[in-house]
């Protein structure tokens, strides 16, 4: 589970690190991805595992479009820039939730049968649910892929450079907007991947994003805003903390542990564990 | 007469980097003292130590006969240290007059008096016509002046000016120089940090040159500019920058 949190959070961290914008609609991106995965299954009987790349690709386009249509303008705001960004993405989140309620109804849905759903695997006597395991695997692969992408390809380096100094980058002829749009796309694609996998073992409903979004913010902050590696490590920590809390406290309190750890960490290190900025 | 400000053997280290080593300077009442030196000489660090942004690693700072080494900036302001910032830090969403009122509130608890004081200071600094303009709408030279006005409103005994004359056009700099003189004539001691010697030398009574975190030379401006050590430090600096 922690690895999936990490995957959700990495997308958020990427966007944040790239341009100092917190996407408060991140949870809704996840929700859309889960619905997409659900409908692909319901109408075309494509298993979520197969449709995951499709969903990720769709989310990539979605994220880039959102950037070009909305966020680009929010970043230009002269007054209250921080507030404008927060509330633009917040408003977007509310609209998306509303649209989901309108078109998909507030009913809880789930994917009843899939290759992985409900199966468990036994490793050395410990039963592990398969979907989560695959999720963890995909997360690790995605993270490794991302790492290589950022550090080994020209475009990845362009992203890093833009993040460090947007002004200088413009001088070398890199189009800032293209890089940012790509960053948003990538961030959305990552959360799309996570959504597709989670669709297998989570109920899907319009508000589903909200519950994960807060955990994602905590994860990102825990790792230190903008640090992709930090977000991933943060995700693992969050997953562990959640598991430990579940042993000690009643299940309804399991998130308290995560939140408490977040508060503890930022009070001791106001910039998160791996924060560099 | 005792000095208004004294630093005694002040050290400041940032990790392994020594920004100030054993700096002892003093500023007498009613003086205009220039603190100059090449880039990276430790001027800004010393300035911030005096303003109370951070406490020195070692040494003490005496202001007006009181040891203020461990007092935070706000407390020093109450004791009579006013400052400006090298990179201007106006309250952008507030009007010019409101900016100055914030400063005036240190000595005036009644709003009406604080407001009157603020108007007085705007008059003094030549910003009166711009009182109701948002600080964000000022031109850079005016923002500099607003910084000075805000600090003056706290009725300081010592005014710390951090590169207020740098980056201004010659005419603007002239008005700035006139303002600094006016401030001194009002009985306020001035300590100003400047990078460019040409601007400050005619203005100051005494110059202190820092280099590599230490006091290099101290004395009358005319003597200081001719001092071979100073020339070397500045030229060396230029070469270093050019390289």
């Amino acid at each position: 589970m922690g690895l999936l949190y990490g995957l959700i959070a990495v997308g958020l961290a990427l966007i944040f690190g790239l341009m100092d914008v917190t996407n408060f609609a991140h949870g809704e991106f996840l929700m859309i991805a889960m619905y997409l995965s659900f409908f692909l299954f319901a109408f075309f009987a494509i298993d979520p595992l197969l449709s995951a790349p499709l969903v990720a690709a769709a989310l990539f386009v979605f994220g880039a479009v959102i950037y070009l249509l909305l966020v680009r303008f929010a970043m230009r705001a002269k007054a209250n820039a921080g507030m404008v960004q927060i509330f633009t993405t917040f408003g977007l989140a509310i609209v998306m939730r509303g649209l989901a309620q309108y078109f998909f109804t507030p009913d809880y849905r789930s994917i009843p049968q899939s290759w992985l759903g409900g199966k468990t695997i036994s490793i050395a006597g410990i039963f592990l649910p398969e979907p989560q395991l695959v999720g963890a695997l995909v997360s690790i692969l995605a993270f490794v892929g991302l790492y290589f992408f950022i550090h080994r390809t020209d475009f990845g380096r362009a992203i890093e450079a833009t993040r460090e100094d947007p002004g200088a980058v413009a001088l070398v002829g890199i189009d800032k907007n293209r890089v940012f749009a790509f960053g948003w796309g990538l961030g959305a694609a990552l959360v799309g991947l996570a959504g597709a996998i989670m669709a297998v073992f989570f109920y899907i409903y319009p508000d589903v994003g909200a519950s994960f979004a807060l955990i994602a913010y905590v994860t990102v902050a825990l790792g230190g805003f903008g640090s992709v590696f930090g977000a991933f490590a943060g995700g693992i920590i969050v997953g562990l903390v959640e598991a430990v809390t579940a042993l000690v406290l009643p299940p309804s309190l399991k998130s308290v542990g995560i939140y408490a750890v977040y508060l503890l960490v930022v009070f001791i290190r106001p910039r998160g564990l791996f924060g560099s900025i | 007469m005792t000095a208004l400000l004294e630093t005694r053997g002040v050290w400041q280290r940032f990790g392994g980097l020594v920004a100030n080593s054993d700096v002892s300077i003093s500023v007498g009442r009613g003086e205009i003292v220039g603190l100059i030196g090449p880039n990276g000489a430790g001027k800004s660090t010393l300035f911030n130590l005096i303003a109370g942004v951070l406490p020195p690693t070692q040494g003490s700072i005496i202001f007006d006969g009181e040891d203020v080494t461990n007092l935070p900036a706000a407390a020093r302001c109450q004791r009579g240290v006013g400052r400006t910032f090298q990179v201007v830090k106006s309250f952008e969403t507030m009007t010019v007059i409101d900016n100055v009122i914030v400063g005036a509130l240190v000595r005036n608890t009644v709003m009406r008096e604080a407001r009157r004081k603020a108007h007085e200071v705007l008059e003094f600094t030549g910003l009166a016509a711009r009182a109701d303009v948002l600080a964000s709408d000022l031109v850079p030279a005016e923002k500099r002046r607003l910084e000075v006005a805000r600090a003056l409103a706290t009725e300081p005994k010592l005014l710390l000016l951090d590169e207020v004359l740098t980056g201004l056009t010659p005419t603007e700099a002239q008005t700035g120089v006139a303002l600094v003189r006016k401030v001194r004539d009002a009985g306020i001691t001035v300590l100003m940090v400047e990078h460019v010697m040409e601007i400050v030398m005619p203005l100051v009574d005494r110059a202190i040159v820092l280099d590599l975190g230490k006091v290099l030379v101290e004395g009358k401006p005319a003597d200081v500019v001719r001092d071979p050590k100073v020339i070397k430090a500045y030229l060396g600096d230029r070469h270093a920058v050019g390289a």
């Binding site: 921080g82 507030m83 902050a221 | 900036a73 309250f91 409101d98 303009v133 031109v139 005016e142 805000r150």
Partner: protein, 327 residues
């Protein structure tokens, strides 16, 4: 210039008095219960948003966790009432005091945080509060507390046959929050807060006690919001964790101010006057829970306003004095 300023202050006060008087008279003409209900909620959110605005707008510490104080106000009042028979009037003050104290206690660690870290911390702490109340048996846990109905009484602040007393209380709350803002705006605190918001370092150099400024703003803000929470509990006469401490309250406190103009005297009132009726009407019109149209309208509005008018609707009315360079 001083005269201008004094005149502006007086004009604000007169406009407020006139508006309040008009509002006070509306129930004479508006008898429809649904509409009255909307008016009560509008006034309540105007007051709440005004209170939120003190900490987040003036002092610049964006809190998205004010639902905590709202809920604390509601719970303190009702727990005192149902368990100890303390009258809601006193419970209201107690709730305010508890909230203000907790806000200050939280301030110690919280105000060291900056930007996003602070915002997320406020969301998180409200969420923790919510979860704790969910699991607190003595306080009714997830079942909540039903306020025993004992008939109309000013003493118990409970009215069954008419909503008018609630209406007037909401109006009074809104006026109080507005007046407190008006009063503080031209005080040392008001100036300190705005200075802290714009540039804490510069504020410090001008003798501003940055930390205590934030503490003061948090305490006033939390107190007023908690009083609003107490009122709401009496008004709906049933509370559970979600219905008084849910995240939506944090949002509904922030949005009117953002919409109308954050950090301004009139922004929250204007924002609430537009936003709340609009939300309630779309909800009423498109009916039922969860067709989502209300959310769509609402979200679109927020996005559009944020993008088109970053200083809020109020900026349409004020003529900014942009004369450019003077010399």
């Amino acid at each position: 210039m001083d005269k201008d300023f004094a005149a502006r202050r007086r004009r604000d006060l007169i406009i407020a008095a006139v508006l309040a008087a008009i509002a006070a008279l509306t129930p004479l003409f508006v008898k429809d219960v649904v509409v009255q209900n909307i008016m009560i909620l509008t006034l309540m959110y105007a007051g709440l948003s005004q209170s939120w605005n003190i900490l987040s707008g003036y002092c610049g510490q964006i809190s998205l966790g004010h639902a905590l104080y709202f809920g604390l106000g509601a719970y303190t009042t009702e727990l005192l009432f149902t368990k100890f028979g303390v009258l809601p009037w006193f419970g209201m003050l107690a709730g305010g005091a508890v909230s203000a104290l907790i806000a200050m206690g939280l301030g110690y660690p919280f105000f060291r945080l900056r930007g996003h870290y602070f915002v997320i911390a406020t969301i998180v702490i409200a969420e923790i509060g919510l979860l704790l109340f969910h699991n607190w048996e003595w306080a009714g846990a997830a079942m909540g507390i039903t306020i025993p109905i004992r008939g109309d009484s000013w003493l118990k602040f409970q009215f069954l046959r008419t909503k008018l007393p609630y209406f007037y209380f909401a109006l009074a709350l809104c006026c109080l929050a507005w007046f407190v803002t008006w009063w503080l705006e031209n005080s040392k605190w008001g100036f300190w807060w705005r200075a802290v918001k714009d540039n804490p370092e510069a504020a410090e150099s001008l003798g501003v006690d940055v930390f205590n400024s934030k503490m003061g703003a948090a305490a006033v803000s939390a107190f007023l919001v908690a009083v609003g929470g107490s009122f709401y509990a009496q008004f709906v006469s049933y509370i559970d964790p979600e219905s008084v401490m849910g995240f939506q309250f944090s949002l509904l406190m922030a949005l009117p101010a953002v919409l109308g103009g954050i950090g301004t005297l009139w922004g929250p009132v204007l924002g609430a006057a537009i936003l709340i009726p609009l939300t309630e009407l779309t909800r009423f019109k498109f009916g039922g829970s969860g067709r989502g149209v209300d959310l769509i309208v609402y979200g679109t509005l927020i996005v559009l306003i944020s993008l088109a008018l970053p200083r809020g609707l109020l900026s349409l009315f004020s003529r900014p004095k942009k004369t450019g360079a003077a010399r």
